[in-house]
């Protein structure tokens, strides 16, 4: 008689089977691979920067204080927080940075929020035009508005240097606090990020259920009470998201405080790097700590029950507030004037600057003599004779400018493709493993770099890249850009994937359709516009990014570092010309993508 003996499988076999089962699901493989890649690319630079704070740097203060030329020490931490210069090296910059971030958020939300409300919930006139023009400051490099501010308000009597437009034409001199420091920095950054608030808040205003407000009206609730108790709570998630994202970005801004003479952690980092490299790295870590705190706040707000529960429904009856016969034109006129200064004037001023004989030389205006204008900044084709251009060729013949432009395109396209693809995969795999801790970890690690100020990310990649010998290579710039911009794609993809019912893919699995085919034939086509946004945003942002890349490459590698170089050198014709080309290029790209795919930055709010 044969006896069947049932043997209990060994532990290793059980483990192997579990692994096999786990790896059978493509989303798990994707999660595992991305978890490793993102951990290394995100954590390694952070570790490098921590190591830098305790390393001794030859020729730096730490070497002087320890009397050593190599090794490790805590002297950088001690000197930064307890030394004679602690107040001006850390506490004042930190205070300024927090104030700047706070007021930037406040300004962006108030300006962007009011505009969003007017565009989506009122019968304001010229909405289409205003909506399109309002987002211009966001697509322009952020310090261009700082340069415009200086050109408008500086005066010989207050700021020293040349008179700005107001002082020279109308003899109006603005006070010092208006021209330099916290106020103009916060205003400029708020104007830059207001379109961001507009897009976020406007999206909710447009889609939110108007029944709640109408119910309040029926109950004879005063308007202010409806706004504070009904409308405001509904847009709270968008306001919170804007705060979280703008706060980190404003904290890490380098060029605006640099141009506006405000000492922040970013500007201090650059100045301290000469002989206090280790201490400068601590400043970057302080910025990172804020990034992590913001991430934690983000986790709390997005996981709390309150979030998003009021914006799930979409009412078919959006009620529009009537601004009155005069009001709808008057308010539109105010915004047309405001946006003319923030969006149109910079472009005109950039274009004008490229035809002046000397930077800032508007003698043709005072004399009315048009022969005082020149095309030399565009068409000079040789630099042997002195053309008053500091040895540079005209923009059309300047290979440095066009090579930098090519470099920017390479970086933007690569960052967009890699970040977009990884982000989409993160979104897909996280949505498929919603309750798993590993998915939560991958989602958080992918999102972390976005909340860490750009300069801190740049610093960590600078130290990391220098150690690996890849400084000043496209590889390093693309790596930093990709890591920083994956969140654009991952958030966009995750939100759209969560809307997708699992049954759709399950039906395909039952049909034994392979994963690749499921992705390309089902998932991607359904969520096409969100996925394209995940590629589009990194591309647009890369085109105008400076703070993140400025430490990673030489100034002629990409167009923004070159632009900044020309601006600092006072060759405003070149910087203005580049800015102009950049803005036109971004507008064309946005228009093309809009035509081809239907996606655009202000789509669905007031633009279309």
């Amino acid at each position: 008689m044969e006896q069947q003996i049932l043997q209990r499988p060994g532990k290793s076999r059980i483990f192997m089977n579990k692994v096999k089962t786990f790896l059978c699901k493509p989303q798990n493989v994707v999660l595992l691979v991305l978890g490793i890649i993102l951990s290394v690319t995100t954590i390694a630079p952070i570790v490098s920067i921590f190591a830098d704070t305790i390393s001794i740097h030859v020729g730096s203060v730490d070497a002087h204080l320890t009397g050593k030329t190599s090794g490790y020490t805590l002297v950088n931490w001690i000197d930064l927080f307890t030394g004679n210069l602690s107040r001006q090296n850390v506490w004042i910059p930190l205070g300024n940075t927090l104030l700047l971030a706070f007021f930037t958020c406040l300004g962006a939300i108030i300006y962007g929020g009011i505009f969003a409300y007017l565009v989506t919930r009122t019968n304001l006139k010229f909405k289409k035009y205003l909506s399109a023009i309002f987002i211009f400051p966001y697509i322009m490099p952020q310090w261009t508005l700082a340069v415009v501010w200086q050109n408008l308000f500086n005066s010989h009597g207050v700021t020293g240097g040349s008179d700005g437009l107001l002082a020279s034409l109308f003899r109006i001199t603005m006070p010092a606090w208006w021209c330099k420091g916290l106020f103009p920095s916060a205003v400029v950054l708020a104007l830059h990020y207001a379109p961001f608030a507009y897009i976020m808040i406007g999206g909710i205003f447009r889609n939110m259920d108007a029944n709640l407000e109408e119910a309040a009206v029926i109950l004879n609730t005063p308007k202010w009470r409806i706004f504070s108790k009904v409308t405001l709570p509904m847009i709270k998630p968008a306001i919170l998201s804007t705060i979280l994202l703008v706060f980190g970005s404003a904290m890490g801004s380098y060029p605006v405080p640099h141009y506006m003479n405000l000492t922040t952690l970013s500007t201090k980092y650059v100045s301290m790097n000469v002989n206090r490299a280790g201490e400068a790295s601590i400043l970057a870590i302080i910025m990172m700590v804020f990034g992590v705190v913001i991430l934690m706040m983000n986790q709390v707000t997005t996981s709390s029950r309150k979030s998003y529960t009021t914006v799930t429904g979409k009412s078919g009856q959006i009620s529009k507030v009537n601004l009155g016969r005069v009001g709808k034109y008057a308010i539109a006129a105010i915004f047309i004037i405001l946006t003319t200064f923030t969006s149109i004037y910079p472009i005109i001023s950039f274009a004008m600057e490229t035809f002046l004989p000397n930077p800032g030389d508007y003698s043709f205006l005072t004399s009315g003599n048009l022969s005082n204008l020149t095309l030399k900044w565009w068409i000079t084709s040789e630099n042997l004779t002195e053309n008053g251009m500091y040895g540079q060729l005209g923009i059309l013949f300047n290979s440095t400018i066009w090579n930098a432009f090519k470099g920017t395109l390479i970086v933007s396209i690569c960052c967009s493709l890699i970040a977009g693809t990884i982000g989409t995969l993160v979104g897909y795999s996280v949505s498929k493993n919603r309750r798993s801790k590993a998915a939560g970890y991958v989602n958080a690690i992918a999102f972390l770099p976005y909340l860490i100020p750009s300069l801190a990310v740049g610093v960590s990649f600078f130290i990391f890249g220098s150690a690996l010998g890849i400084y000043n290579t496209y590889l390093l710039i693309i790596l930093a850009g990709t890591v920083k911009y994956i969140p654009f794609a991952s958030r966009s993809a995750l939100n759209s994937m969560l809307q997708l019912s699992g049954e759709i893919e399950e039906a395909a699995i039952i049909q034994d359709i392979p994963w690749f085919k499921r992705m390309f034939k089902i998932i991607i086509p359904i969520q096409k516009s969100s996925i394209i946004s995940g590629y589009l945003l990194p591309f647009m942002t890369c085109l105008r990014e400076l703070t993140l890349f400025m430490l990673l490459c030489s100034q002629n590698k990409i167009v923004t570092t070159l632009l900044d170089y020309f601006d600092e050198m006072g060759l405003y014709a070149f910087s203005s010309g580049i800015n102009l080309i950049l803005i036109i290029f971004i507008i064309i790209c946005n228009g093309l993508i809009n035509k081809v795919t239907g996606a655009s930055l202000d789509k669905g709010i007031g633009g279309n």
Partner: protein, 444 residues
């Protein structure tokens, strides 16, 4: 949670190893490195012999150079053409990069400690950091070409260690429209003065200039200029001079006239109006609206001013060109040429350096403009009549009086950067200056 912590720890370790994998310990034995041996041979060779060596070494290859001046790229083009004249099949190239801010030092050190090396040579400024970060550590190597050493008028002691490509001057200028006069270097820090200047944190050579003012030689220049002031101005400055006299001792500076140097530095830091670059300063000073304004800026910026109804070089006066002017006329800093100790193409680097310091064509990229003086006077160009138009002296501010005039006490009395002195005093002085600038920022 434990699993997550363990995972993070493992990743951290992996990351640290990854970040460190590029570094390699350099030998500290007394044995000479490959580059040092080649320099030893190269210093005995003529330029033509170096060209031959460069051709053999870098045919089909790219040499990477890095520098603070973008004109290195122009010089590189001329050098390649020179090699092609000797060997028409030569197809080597030079890739020149100009990093932003202060990252050149970090970058070079990173390249040296990396397992694979990129840069062969550098054109670098800021004597203080070069001394403390590069020369004291042996990361950069000095090469003195034979023909440079033997050239007439070359001062090896002053310009050979480290080898200087050129000296550049930053000079005091002021807008001469209106009644304001600056006939003494103390006038630039007097009462309501607000001279335009690149911040010392943006450009460390500006800080070196301030360090050098504590040196006996230049502190004495300032003392003499102070003595030439009228009693009202002397009384104004005396308060600050007395105030900082004690600081000198705590900073370890014992010169008799140090307090004049410190007082001038303190007042300068409190008064200067920081600008992003010398370009905007020049653009400003030459306009008709900048009545009475002053600045300290690179002299050569005047070359690119285009005359118009509101802009003219004649609106500015170079302070030191006035007969009655007393005291320092500005400062001078140098561009140094060095080999990287891990240079992949050391022969080519030596030949390129020799080309720039011994031939007129090699120095042309810099020499064509006023305000830059080669350490080899034989390849300098005359700019004493740059302000002449059709034989008539039209823009006298552009008539460069030359290196010798600028550095002599009777002439421009420029404060010349000394890397060793700067690196000796920099740590104490840097903090002292930073406190003044910090207090100024807080007060604003």
């Amino acid at each position: 949670m434990k699993k997550l912590v363990s995972l993070l720890l493992v990743l951290t370790m992996v990351s640290t190893m990854l970040a460190g994998c590029g570094t390699s310990q350099t030998s500290k034995s007394g044995e000479k490195s490959e580059a040092e041996k080649i320099i030893e041979q190269a210093e005995k060779m003529t330029l033509q012999e170096l060209y031959q060596k460069a051709i053999e070494e870098s045919k089909g290859k790219t040499m990477y150079g890095i520098g603070n001046s973008s004109r290195g790229a122009t010089a590189a083009t001329g050098f390649i053409e020179e090699l092609q004249k000797i060997d028409s099949s030569y197809n080597g190239t030079i890739e020149w990069s100009q990093p932003k801010n202060n990252s050149i030092f970090t970058l070079l050190n990173a390249d040296i400690t990396s397992s694979s090396h990129t840069y062969s040579m550098t054109l670098i400024q800021d004597g203080n950091q070069i001394q403390s970060k590069m020369l004291d550590t042996g990361n950069l190597l000095n090469f003195i070409p034979k023909e440079w050493k033997e050239a007439n008028g070359v001062n090896e002691k002053e310009n050979g260690h480290p080898l200087a490509l050129q000296t550049l001057n930053k000079v005091f200028m002021f807008n001469n429209l209106g009644n304001k006069n600056y006939t003494n270097c103390w006038d630039f820090v007097y009462e309501d003065a607000s001279p335009l200047f690149m911040g010392v944190d943006s450009e460390p050579v500006g800080k070196n200039f301030l360090y050098m003012l504590t040196n006996d030689k230049y502190a004495t220049y300032l003392k003499k200029a102070f003595d030439a002031l009228d009693s009202t101005k002397q009384a104004y400055f005396q308060t600050t001079i007395d105030e900082v006299a004690e600081d000198g001792k705590s900073l370890g500076l014992s010169g008799d006239n140090t307090k004049y140097g410190l007082a001038w530095i303190k007042l300068w830091c409190e008064k200067y109006n920081e600008q992003t670059d010398d370009g905007p300063i020049c653009n400003e000073l030459v306009t008709t609206s900048a009545v009475g304004e002053s600045g300290l800026l690179v002299y050569s910026k005047l070359r690119s001013v285009e005359e118009s109804e509101t802009v003219s070089v004649n609106n500015v006066t170079v302070a030191a060109y006035q007969d009655e002017y007393a005291g320092i006329g500005g400062y001078a800093y140098k561009h140094y040429l060095q080999l990287v100790k891990t240079a992949p193409l050391p022969w080519t680097a030596c030949a390129f350096i020799a080309y720039m310091v011994t031939t007129e064509e090699g120095f042309y990229a810099w020499g064509k403009d006023m305000g830059g003086y080669s350490a080899n006077p034989n390849i300098n160009q005359d700019h004493s009549q740059d302000g002449f138009v059709d034989g008539v002296d039209t823009y006298s501010a552009k008539n460069d009086r030359g290196y010798d005039w600028w550095v002599s006490e009777d002439g421009g009395a420029l404060v010349v950067e000394d890397p060793k002195y700067c690196s000796e005093v920099s740590f104490n002085m840097s903090d002292w200056i930073d406190v003044i600038i910090g207090n100024k920022a807080t007060a604003e």
